[in-house]
Every structure is written in C-alpha cells, then in structure tokens.
C-alpha cells in the first residue's frame, strides 16, 4: 500500500544510458543469492514438468480405475492414485498447467491495466491524477468476495477467463506502485534534462521513465502470482474451482486435505508441489528486489 515515492536517489542508481550494465549487475547479484537461484531453478523445472509431463505419461488425467481406487505410491503410479483410481502424478502436472496459467493470466492482466493506469495518473498529475486515484480508493473499499462470486457466475465455466477477470480487479496495487514511481522519477534531474533537451513526451515515457520502473514492476509481478495461486486454492476450498474432471493444485489440495488421514499422499504431493512453487516465486521475488535494489516494494 505504499504510494510514497522512494526517497533515496539510489533507487535509480544510474541513468538509463548504462541500462545494460544495470541489468547485468542485477543478474550477478541475483546469482549470488542462493535462495533466489534455487527459486529460479525449481520454477523452471516445475514449469517444464507441467508442460511436458502430461504428454509423456501413460495415463490420462481423467482416466479412472474404480477397481483400483485410492492406492499409495507404487511402481505403476509413482505418486499413487485418488479415490477414483486416477494417477496422481499426471493430475498433479496437468493441474500445475492450470494453476500456473491462472497465476500468469491474472497477473498479466493486472500488470497491463495497473501499469497503464498508474503511469497515466502519475505522468499527467493534477486533477486527472486526483480523480483517478480517488477511483482506486473507492475500488479498494469494495470487498473482494462479492466480486469473485459475481465473476464466478459470469465466467465460472472457464477458469482462465475467470482469472483474467480477477486480474482485472487486482490491478489496484500495481497502479498505486507505478504512479508513485512515475511521480518520483518525473522529478529527477535526468528527466528534467531530457525535457530541456526538447525530447517528446512519448520518448520521455518510453525511453526514460518506463525502463526505470521495471524493477518494482518485476518484483511486484513475482509476488502477485503466488497471491493469485492462493486465491485459486481458496476458491477451490469454497468448491468454486476448475470444472471437473480437470484438476488444479487448489482442487487437489482441497480434496487431499479432506482425506489427509486416510490417504495422506493425496495431500502431501500436491501440497509440496504448491508450496515449493510459492516458496520459489517468493524467494525469486525477494531476490529480484535485492538485486534490483527496489526500496519501496510492496507486501
């Protein structure tokens, strides 16, 4: 909720002309952060597994075997099967596609709207800014569950669409962050310099302001994806998750939590996968924040 601009000029250590070395430095700093590196690697592994796994598995995610029922991990089913005798591994990987897609889709939408809105408000300032930010305040005071249930009714049959819609509600914080950044960058000397050199508005926005905001935006993005994935799990807890027989991590965890004492593997594997992903995203986000030296980050 920090709309306050970063106070230290160190937030933008170098003018953009040396952008390459800025990003290079950040990459080196990130590499030194063991947790962030771990996050990056494990995320890549999970993403590749979810993309390719279901194609390589001998089972379909919806293929039942009622005679087998719930069985513990074995050579045939590495992570066991659920009560309908479906292979948990393939359901976990197929569900990962949904959960990751949901996280990315909602975050992308939130990012797009938030950046444009925040940048416009911050850049033009004045009355327009006041009106735009008051609107954000009003939207902040709308309770989220009502929105979500309404959206469920409208888009409940397509979970990705649902989360695109959720992203369209989630952009408020992004807009505030971006506006704050723009306000502070606008006042900095190199922008003044660019302006006095007679550079056009468009050029100033895209060449000078935008690149300097990328740090906070990237950080906030890596921190929004886990939030959205938790929301998907919460909706599954309410029974409003993805349409069966498709699975998602939220649905698997919810089902597993209900059967954790009888068939613990149904909770352990999806729970581990989900938490590992969220840990990784959060570590990566933190690492990026350190690496990009973003002070006014948002939690």
């Amino acid at each position: 909720m920090t709309s306050a601009p970063p106070t230290s000029p160190a937030a933008v250590p170098e003018p953009v002309e040396q952008g390459n070395s800025l990003w290079h430095d950040a990459w080196l700093r990130l590499r030194k952060n063991k947790l962030a590196t771990f996050g990056l690697v494990s995320l890549s592994v999970i993403a590749v597994a979810c993309l390719l796994g279901p194609l390589l598995s001998p089972y379909g995610y919806e293929e039942q075997n009622l005679d087998l029922g719930a069985s513990a991990p074995s050579a045939a089913h590495w992570l066991g099967t659920d009560t309908l005798g479906r292979d948990l591994l393939v359901r976990l990987l197929a569900g990962g596609r949904i959960s990751l897609a949901v996280g990315l889709a909602a975050t992308f939408v939130a990012l797009t709207i938030g950046v444009v809105y925040g940048a416009v408000a911050g850049f033009f300032g004045g009355k327009l800014d006041a009106v735009m930010m008051r609107s954000v305040d009003i939207m902040y005071s709308m309770p989220f569950p009502i929105f979500v249930i309404l959206l469920m009714v409208l888009f409940g049959r397509n979970i990705i669409l649902l989360f695109v819609a959720i992203g369209a509600v989630e952009w408020l914080t992004m807009a505030r962050i971006v506006r704050g950044q723009v306000l502070s960058i606008k006042k900095m000397e190199f922008i003044e310099a660019a302006r006095s050199l007679g550079l056009g508005r468009r050029r100033i926005i895209f060449r000078h302001i935008l690149p300097n905001m990328l740090g906070p935006i990237i950080v906030y993005t890596t921190l929004t994806i886990p939030g959205v994935m938790l929301l998907e799990a919460f909706l599954s807890f309410l029974g409003l998750g993805v349409q069966p027989p498709m699975s998602s991590w939220g649905v698997l965890i919810k089902d597993g939590a209900e059967k954790m004492e009888e068939f613990p593997w149904l909770l352990i594997f999806p729970g581990t996968m989900f938490s590992l992903t969220l840990f990784s995203l959060n570590f990566l986000g933190d690492g990026l924040r350190d690496a990009l030296d973003v002070r006014s980050s948002k939690d």
Binding site: S71, P244, P264
Partner: protein, 566 residues
C-alpha cells in the same frame, strides 16, 4: 505390484489407539511445522495439562447431550423452518398431535392421546390429552391448534410447507388467498380437548403427514401476539427467553453460530420419561470441523465427511451409526433437449451406470445404490419393477436411437452444485464415455445458481434429489405428474398421470399399491429421471449415548435418550 488400499484403521484396536492410528498417517506432513509450533506453544506459556475433562465427560455427569448440528438454524419457528439444522432442534421444543415409531414411522400418540377415523376416510377426530401444557404452564388446547393451523396457512406468513395441509378441505384455497374465511376450512374444535379435521378426499397417509412435520406443530398464541401479528415473519418470538413451546425441552439460550441450549421442561406432560437434563446444539457448518470436534471430546453426536465414514465403515467401527433415509438421489433429465426427448436414450444413459460399483468407490457409507426411484422402508410400499445395470442393452438402445457408439451424440452438460457430489458426477461422466462413447461435460455451479438454472429448466442433465415429505410413495411419484411444479424433467405422460389418479382415489390398500407400483414401473421405463442412490444418514455416536432412536426421517426424538459411562 500395486499395493491395495491400506487399512486406515485396525478394527482390533481400542478407540483411543485407533484414533492415534488414524493420526499417525498424517504426521509426515507436519514435520516442518512441528518444531516451530512447539516453540510457539511454549512461548505462549500454555497450560499443557494432558488430561482435561472434556465436554463429553462433563455431559455424563450433568446429563447434558452435546449435539453436532450441521449448521446454524435459520429459524426455530415450526411454521417457517426449512433447513436441515432447524429440524434437529424444533422437535425438542414443540410436540404435534402425533409422534411416530422410529423403526416403522407408524403414528403414536403425541398431544393427541387417541384418534378416530370415519369409515369414509374423510373425518379425523383427535382427542387431546388434558395434561398437555405449554412451557409456561398454560394448557395446550384444541384452540391452540386451530390458531396454529390458521397461522401456518396465512399467505403473508409464507410458510413453505402448506402443501402438507392440502388434503384438508379448503386448506389449499386458504393458503393461496382464494378463501379468506378460516371457518370454512375443514378444521373444528367442538370442545377444548377435541379437534376435528374434515378432508376433501380420503388420504391414507394423512397421519404420516401430521406426525413427521413441524408445520403441523402448535404455537403459543399469547407469545405470537405479544411480538407481532398472526401472519408476521421474524418477530423475534423464537428467541431464548421469548419462546414458549410445548415440547419436552425448553429453549434457554441461543448464541448465533455457536450453540442452542434447551433444558428439560418441567411442564411437559411426559416429563417423567425424559432423562436428559440439557441439550446443546452446536452450529458447526463444516463436516470436517464437526468430526474433529467429536474426536476432541466436544460432542456426543456428530456428522462426518464421506472419507471418514468410508474408513470407519471398512473398520466396522461401533462409533459409526448408519440410518437408511427416506430420500432419493437422481439425475433430472430435461426431456425437451435434443436426444434426451427419446426415452431409449434416457434408458441407455441409466443402464450404462454400474451404480453399486460407483457407490462403492465414491461414498460407500452414504450411498445405497438405487434400483428404483422410491426408497425402501416406505410404509406399505414394495417395488415391483427394478433397475439393474446393463451396458450391452444400453449400447443397443443408443444405436437404435441413431447414435451407434455415441457417434454424433449432441454435446450435453451434466450440471452439479458445489459440494460433495463432484466425484459422483465424474464417475458418471466416465461411465458414459467408456460404456457408450458419449461425451458429456460437467458443469459445476455454485449451489443457488445450480438450483436456479434447474428450476428455470435451463439444463440438460442435473444432479438432484428429493426428501420424503411424508412416509408414502406418492411423495416421490407426484413429482413427475404432467405440469407439476417440481417436474423439472418437463415429462408429460398421460398413462403415468392416469395411474397416479387411480392411486389417489383408491380406497383399497392393495389396489392403491398396485397403481403406485405400476406408476414407478412406468417411470423406470420412460426414465425422465435416472435413479442414482438412496442416501443414508451418517453419524458418529459416542458409546455413552444410550437409546438414540435413529429413524429414516432424521428427525430425532430426544425423550428416550440417556447417557451412561461406556
């Protein structure tokens, strides 16, 4: 090598060690969090007394029954209630003319100590017991019943079960507002202890309607009028301290979303037989939380989630109480949709399901696989026609209807409500795909949206169900009469209507049974609904609870229950 399902519980263990055994299965997941938790609990300086006296132990001492009650009752007004938790509490606070035998549901004396029926089946005379009292000491008389029936039928009150008065002459018209003079309705009280009902047509199951349903319960006139008018909703007369009832227990506390407390009523006419001192109904709206509270020693009686019930059933646990229910779960088939208007296709969809196998995998404790639409245990009804899985015939029927192997079958949807049935829906979907080659998408909607769509007949196939309003086959068969308000299949069949009309007017029980049987057979032939299961009521009952009169309507009678150390 596939390991079979591990035994989650060992039958030979004592209850305590069994619970621990259940627990052990889940400890692996906790390892990361446990040291932190231990540190935290130490930090918070918790008293870690190992053996606390649990609520269940205290109950034994004070004759207090701790009851898990699936959720917060919306109301305790017998004429307004409509959700499951309400029906657990209200029978403790009020008593109608009749009670019922738990095993057979046969009517037994309540406020009426005896009754007579005229030979033409049109006049019922109830003789009330002179010692029937309200909880404030007032006498409970025939005038109270007249007032209560007038109230229940008042249109402005909006009672949802006025249907159960319809056999009484003029009651339907009074409820719809067509008749405004209550004296023209077939209720009369010639003296304070006599109540006479005059029916529009003979109704062999009238006593069953009266016995089981709170809408027939009396309310205390002076209390109603102190808080509002006769037909006013939500006046607050049902709050603790206000409510005056005539049941074995008296409402003493109602803490919303926590607990409803009822104490033994000293004025109840049969108080000598009531052995419990206090009932405490806990509004626990999560089955998982309810089951955990039972295991933590907070409840004597609790509901439980399907996975737990299945495990306890497999272990033959004495804690699990399974009671057959008077209900039927089925798939409504919208007979106006493409393909589904063809009875052969509806039959094919039904015959393709191996219900016993599906029930065993999905919810073996709760689901009794259906072989018809009317549940067993319905007084005076036995099924003539039976439904049995037959995938080969199903494929033949589907081919005959123009979709061999499912080729070209329209894209249809199976609608479900959020909640427990999603595994059932997936098993059905899978059976249809593998047995018939028919692809049907599951559409899982938030409950009220699902119901709304079904009631608007905006669906193809929908998971649905019906609870008996009274113990007679007609409570189910009447649903599919042409143009009926609950006929969401939109199935119109003159032959079926004729059979039900014959049954309604038949005075001879054997003839009536034959017509009803023919009606169910017609239903199974035409399949406007696909039978799925008869669901059983599942409860955890602590060994100290004695004399729990389980019955197929799930309306408990708390009078004979007592607590004794196991």
């Amino acid at each position: 090598m596939l390991p079979t399902r591990p035994p989650a519980v060992r039958p030979s263990d004592r209850p305590g060690s069994r619970l621990r055994g259940l627990l052990r299965l889940s400890t692996r997941r906790k390892t990361a969090a446990l040291p932190l938790l231990a540190a935290l609990s130490g930090f918070l300086a918790l008293p870690s007394c190992a053996k606390r006296e649990t609520a269940v132990d205290v109950g034994l001492r004070t004759a207090t029954l701790e009851i898990g009650n699936t959720g917060e009752p919306g109301e305790l007004d017998p004429h307004i209630i409509n959700s499951a938790p309400d029906y657990q509490v209200v029978p403790a606070l009020f008593e109608g003319l009749l009670n019922f035998e738990p095993a057979t549901l046969a009517p037994t004396p309540g406020v009426a100590e005896r009754w007579t029926i005229s030979p033409d089946g049109l006049t019922y005379t109830f003789h009330l017991r002179p010692n029937a009292k309200w909880s404030n000491g007032d006498a409970c008389t025939a005038a109270d019943f007249l007032y209560s029936f007038r109230r229940a039928l008042s249109p402005a009150l909006g009672s949802q079960y006025t249907l159960l008065f319809h056999p009484v002459r003029g009651a339907a018209d009074y409820a719809s507002g067509k008749l405004t003079d209550f004296t023209a309705v077939g209720f009369a009280a010639p003296d304070p202890l006599t109540l006479v009902l005059t029916l529009a047509h003979p109704t062999p199951y009238l006593l069953g309607m009266i016995a089981g349903n709170p809408v027939w319960f009396p309310v205390h006139r002076a209390t109603i009028e102190r808080h509002g008018t006769i037909d006013q909703r939500g006046t607050g007369w049902t709050r603790a301290g206000h409510l005056v009832g005539n049941g074995a227990f008296l409402l003493t506390d109602w803490r919303p979303n926590q607990v409803i407390v009822a104490e033994k009523s000293p004025h109840y006419w049969d108080a000598a037989r009531v052995r419990l001192q206090t009932l405490r109904f806990h509004a626990i709206d999560s089955l998982d939380a309810e089951e955990r509270s039972f295991r933590a020693g907070q409840l004597h009686v609790a509901h439980l989630p399907p996975a737990k019930a299945t495990a306890l059933l497999a272990a033959k646990s004495p804690l699990l109480q399974i009671t057959p229910g008077l209900n039927s779960a089925f798939i409504n088939v919208n007979t106006t949709r493409p393909a589904l208007h063809d009875a052969r296709i509806r039959r094919a969809l039904a015959l393709a399901l191996d219900l016993p196998r599906i029930a065993a995998s999905v919810n073996s404790a709760r689901m009794l696989p259906a072989d018809g639409i009317i549940p067993p245990g319905m007084a005076g009804y036995t099924r003539a026609a039976r439904l049995a899985s037959d995938p080969a015939t199903a494929r033949t029927l589907l081919a005959a209807a123009g979709f061999p192997g499912g080729a070209g079958f329209p894209k249809l949807e199976l609608s479900t409500a959020t909640g427990g049935a999603h595994e059932l829906a997936q098993a059905i979907q899978h059976s249809w795909r593998t047995e018939l080659g028919v692809q049907i998408a599951i559409v899982n909607r938030e409950s009220r949206t699902h119901w709304d769509q079904m009631h608007a007949k905006n669906y193809d196939l929908a998971l649905a169900g019906w609870n008996a309003d009274y113990p007679d086959a007609s409570t189910f068969l009447d649903l599919w009469k042409s143009g009926g308000g609950w006929n969401f299949s939109q199935w119109n069949d003159a032959r079926y209507d004729a059979l039900l009309a014959l049954a309604a007017t038949a005075l001879d029980p054997a003839a009536r049974l034959a017509h009803l049987q023919a009606g169910e057979a017609r239903l199974l032939e035409e399949m406007p609904v696909i039978p799925l299961s008869f669901d059983r009521f599942l409860r955890l009952v602590h060994p100290s609870v004695r004399g729990w009169p389980a019955n197929s309507t799930d309306r408990p009678d708390y009078r004979p229950i007592w607590l004794a150390a196991p």
